[in-house]
Structures are given as structure tokens and as C-alpha cells.
Amino acid sequence: MNTSSESNYLNASRGWKSWLFTLDHKRIAILYFFAIMFFFFVGGVLALLIRTELLSPKQVLVGAETYNQLFTLHGAIMIFLFIIPGIPAILGNFVLPLMIGAKDVAFPRLNLASWYVYMLGSLFALYSIVTGSVDTGWTFYTPYSTTTSGSVISMTLGVFILGFSSIFTGLNFIVTIHKLRAPGMTWYKMPLFAWGAYATSVIQILATPVLGITMILLILERAFGIGIFDPAMGGDPVLYQHFFWFYSHPAVYIMILPAMGIISEVISVFSHKKIFGYKAIAFSSLGIALVSFLVWGHHMFTSGQSELAAMIFSFLTFLVGIPSGIKMFNWMATMYKGSVSLESPMLYAMSFLFLFGIGGFTGIMLGALSVDVHLHDTYFVVAHFHYVMMGGTVMGFLAGLHYWWPKMWGRMYNEAWARITAVIIFIGFNLTFFTQFILGTKGMPRRYYTYMDQYQPLHAFSSVGSYIIGLGFTIMAVYLIHSLFRGKAAVKNPWGALTLEWTTSSPPVEHNFELQPVVVDGPYDYDRIRIENDQRIYKEVKMKSETETKVGL
């Protein structure tokens, strides 16, 4: 793809074997990119089918059972196959070693294994779709999931296997960050994306195994009736919910923390200003990661759990809001007196601020006990989590994808179209999901295939919005694919960023750097380094060869 004669990781070796057996973190990232994008596409198409079905209060396209399978698959694919691996496995794999000046992740073989495990898990999920599918919702609540027909076992087995992929990535990142930082890269000189990835990995390590055991117990319950979750056998369905949310609440921060890391990078780079409150942002990531383990019960306020437990969970839920707020305020302060350019990554970052803000505050509403009793399992919750997941994580992902695209492929995309698309998706998104907040407060329950006539107008608006999102993504697919083949060659550092990945060529050479980088300045020291924006020339002050350093001594 790259026409220049220089050797880089894309053209260093050829043939499908050199890809399928590669140990290069950059190539593994690319493998992940295609796999995950495929599933995002599938999940997105399912979403459009859901929205089409909901155009009218009566049946439009499919029957009740098919509809139930649609939203289950949409949820399960989006969560387990797209958003949880998304940022860490694609962008994290690609840039994290580059950012901290390492030649690779600590365990390249494990890294490749995680991709194969991911593919295996997705095969199980696909297998369950062709053999009767699942209609339980992505939460697999018992006793429905232990009694319904369909292939729940292969789907949950798939989820179990996907967990390993997630664990492998997390393990790799933690060790990489601990052990492979370049000389001079102290913890506080690490870019904030690395902090975000670190906090994410901690959650992946601590929470994912519990998902694993939950899925095993669910399978055993379904197959043998072991009596832990199924009341018919003496089990407690609410206990299942504890197990499930012990993983799945922290998992929502697996989704958002890396996105927040990207936003920190992008806002600082596109404001050309030193990030405000570096330590506050870094430690709030860890804070969120830790507190996230204490709040899972807020998904169960009306489940019949103890009122006292509900009180504790509600209280702790609010604590999570504080560090998220700290981040938002620090990003704002970073832009203050900066030199802001609104290129497409920054536009996505601004979308993030807006949409995640709404998503976060509505999370606070759901955390308030009495209000949640009204809103639980209505479209308000649906809107909340799309605002944080699609509006938060996916916008962060898109910001990162546009930001690092030149580095990944050595090509630029069409900036004008990228900006137009950002606006289209923003508008379509708000149309789709803001209406759902109102549906929710009015009492429209979720997972409803037919509904009362009074909700129709808002549902119709929402469906139209989803088509606009679909249009946006289609344009994006076109200009990104176009860029792969026809894009202008990218320079080393198109945005004038100061982190290490921009000091190597675009795309990077096979072993990341020609010479081992040695870190002198912080990742955001825009006050110390003058950047001539117009020519986009970046003075390479940070890359000094080891020999140079030694001469210097």
C-alpha cells in the first residue's frame, strides 16, 4: 500500500503468513482492526433493523422472537466483540509500545494468541447465531436464560473465551508499562493514554475472571441444574445479577477509560498546550478503576435486593462521578488560552465532551435511588448507555482513529469529508438517542417489540436519526478506504504532537524506532517547544540516540 521505498512494518515482509503469524504488535493491531470493524458493522446493521422495526407500534419487519434475538445479538456483539476489545486491542496495541518507546509489548506471542482467542470466541458466538440464536438480552438473566430454548450455551461459552482475549491484552499492557518504558520515561512522563490503558488493564485483570466463572456457572446451571441461579433448583436469580454486574459494571469503565485517555491526548495536541492537571487526570483514571468495583448493585435497585445494600451501592455510585468530573474540568482548563485547531480528531473529541457529559449526568440520575425506580429498564437507560458508549467510547475511538490513522497507514484521509462526517454523526446521534430520554421518562420500557401508540412519534424520530448515523458511517467507510489506496502520504508528525510515536516514520519501521529513543521532555511540553504550525515542522529534540547521550556525558 505504501508507495515510498522505505521499509516499514507494512511492507517489511509479505504474504498472508507474514500477517497471520506475525508477532509485531502493529500488525496484530491491524488484524484486530479488521476483525473488530467487521463486528461493529454487523452490530450497527442489527441496530438499524431494530430501529426499523420500532418505526411503528405494531410489527413492521420481524416477529417478536426475531426481534428479541436482534437486540440480544446487537447488545452482545457491540459489547463483547466491539467495544471492550475495541480501543485497547486496536489503538492500544498499535500506539502503546510506540508511545512509551518500546520495541514491542512484553509478550508478543501472547498478544497474537489474544487475537486468535478473540476469533475463536467470535466463532462460538456466530455458531450460536446459526443454531437457534439467543433471545435473553446481553445480560443473560436467569432463570430466563436457563429455561429458554436457543443456543445460550454456545453464546456464553463464546463470551467466556472472549474474556481470555481481554485478559491477555490487559496482562500484556501492565507488564509492558511496568518494564519496557524507554530510558528517561518516568511514570509522570508517560502520555495520559498510557495511564488510561494501564487503569483499563487493571480492571480487565480483576474483573474479567469473574465474568468467566459466571458464564461457567450459568452453563452448568443450564446443563445440570446445579442450583445456584435457578430458583427451580433452589438457586437465587438475584445472585446471578450480582455475579454478572460485578464484572459488567467495571466493564463499562474498561470501555470508557481508554477513550478518556485518547481525549486527553487529542485535546492537548490540538490545543498545543500543556495538559492541565496531568496528575489529577492520571490518578482519576486509577480512582475510577478502583471505585468501579464497588458500585455494581446500582443495576439492581428494583431487583428485590436488600434496601441497605441498595443504599450503599447508590452512595458509592456518586463517588465515580467525581473523578470523571475532574477529567472534564481539566480538559476544559487545557483549552483555556490554548491554540485550538478544530481538525477532525478534535471535532470528535468535542463530540465526546458533549455526549459523554450528557451520558454521565444521566448516569447520576440513574444512580439516585428513587429516580432509578422510575427509570430502570426504560428507554432512559437505553439512551444513557448509548450516550456513554456510542457518544463516549465510540467518539473517543473515532478521535483516536483519525488522530493515529496517518501513523497506522502512512496515509492521510480527506479532512473535509472527515469534518462533515463528524457533524453528521453528531446530529444523527442526538436525534436518535435524545428522543429516547424522553421516551424513557414517559415510561416506555426497553426490550419492547410492540408498544403503545402514544410513543410512536418519538420512536419515529429516533429511527430517522439512526439512518443519519448510518449515512455518516457509510461516508466514513468510503473516505477511509479511499485513503488506504489513494490517500496523500503522511508526514512523520502531521499534528505537531510531542509524544514518541510521532518521532518515528509514518508508518513506523518494523522495530518501531531506528534508534532507542531517550526521553528528555514531558509528553506535552508545548511551552518549551516552539512549533511552526504552518509548515508543520516538528523539531526533533526528544529523539537522541544512545550514542549521543553517551557522548554528552
Partner: protein, 121 residues
């Protein structure tokens, strides 16, 4: 920290230490089995867990070399145990306290039972 000193990680413990720890573990196993035959009510559980904790600590400190190794590994282990505790405690805070307001809500589930019966008015 000692972690960058290869000497300390290659630290060879005297055989004595291994055998002493092994012997202690055998003895503790015998004690815990013996004690379990005496009735202390709820304390049986406490005693059994305490002894198990001591045994586990011995294994971790000496067989797994945590005593001599990088302290960070010990921290990792402790953190994981902390989260196990969080899981157990918060879950049981629910399952044990369900009857706090309504008596009917508490209690375990009966096998195959439809506990919905006509209550005398």
C-alpha cells in the same frame, strides 16, 4: 528497592527453611483436622479459616519467595485478595439483609417450591 539486584532474586534459601516450612504446614493440617472435631459452634469456621490463612501465608512467603522477592508482587497478591473480599462482603450484605424491611423477602429459596400460597387474611 531490591528488584534490580540480581543477587537478591537469585537468593538461595537454606534447605532448613524449606523443611521447616513444610513441617509447619503438616502440623497445621493436623491441628485444623483435630480442632474440627471439637464443637465451638460458629468459631469452628473462624478457627479453620485462621489456620488456613496462616498456612497460605507460609506458602506465599517462602515457597513463592514473596518474603525475599520484589515487594510489588506481594502487593499484587494482596490487592487481588482485597477484591475477593469486596465481592464476598458486598454480595452477602445483600443476601443476608434482605429481610430488613419485610420478613417475607428474606430467607433461602425452597427447592421446587411455589412459596406463593394463600396466606390467612
Amino acid at each position: 528497592m531490591t528488584q534490580h539486584n540480581p543477587q537478591s532474586t537469585n537468593h538461595v534459601l537454606p534447605l532448613k527453611v524449606y523443611f521447616a516450612v513444610g513441617a509447619a504446614l503438616f502440623v497445621l493440617t493436623a491441628i485444623t483436622v483435630g480442632v474440627s472435631f471439637i464443637q465451638f459452634g460458629a468459631f469452628n469456621m473462624v478457627i479453620a479459616l485462621l489456620i488456613a490463612a496462616v498456612k497460605a501465608t507460609l506458602v506465599a512467603l517462602f515457597f513463592m519467595h514473596l518474603f525475599y522477592d520484589n515487594k510489588f508482587f506481594g502487593a499484587i497478591l494482596s490487592i487481588s485478595l482485597l477484591f475477593v473480599a469486596v465481592f464476598i462482603i458486598l454480595t452477602m450484605y445483600d443476601t443476608e439483609k434482605r429481610a430488613a424491611i419485610y420478613q417475607e423477602k428474606g430467607g433461602p429459596i425452597q427447592k421446587e417450591a411455589v412459596i406463593y400460597q394463600e396466606k390467612a387474611p
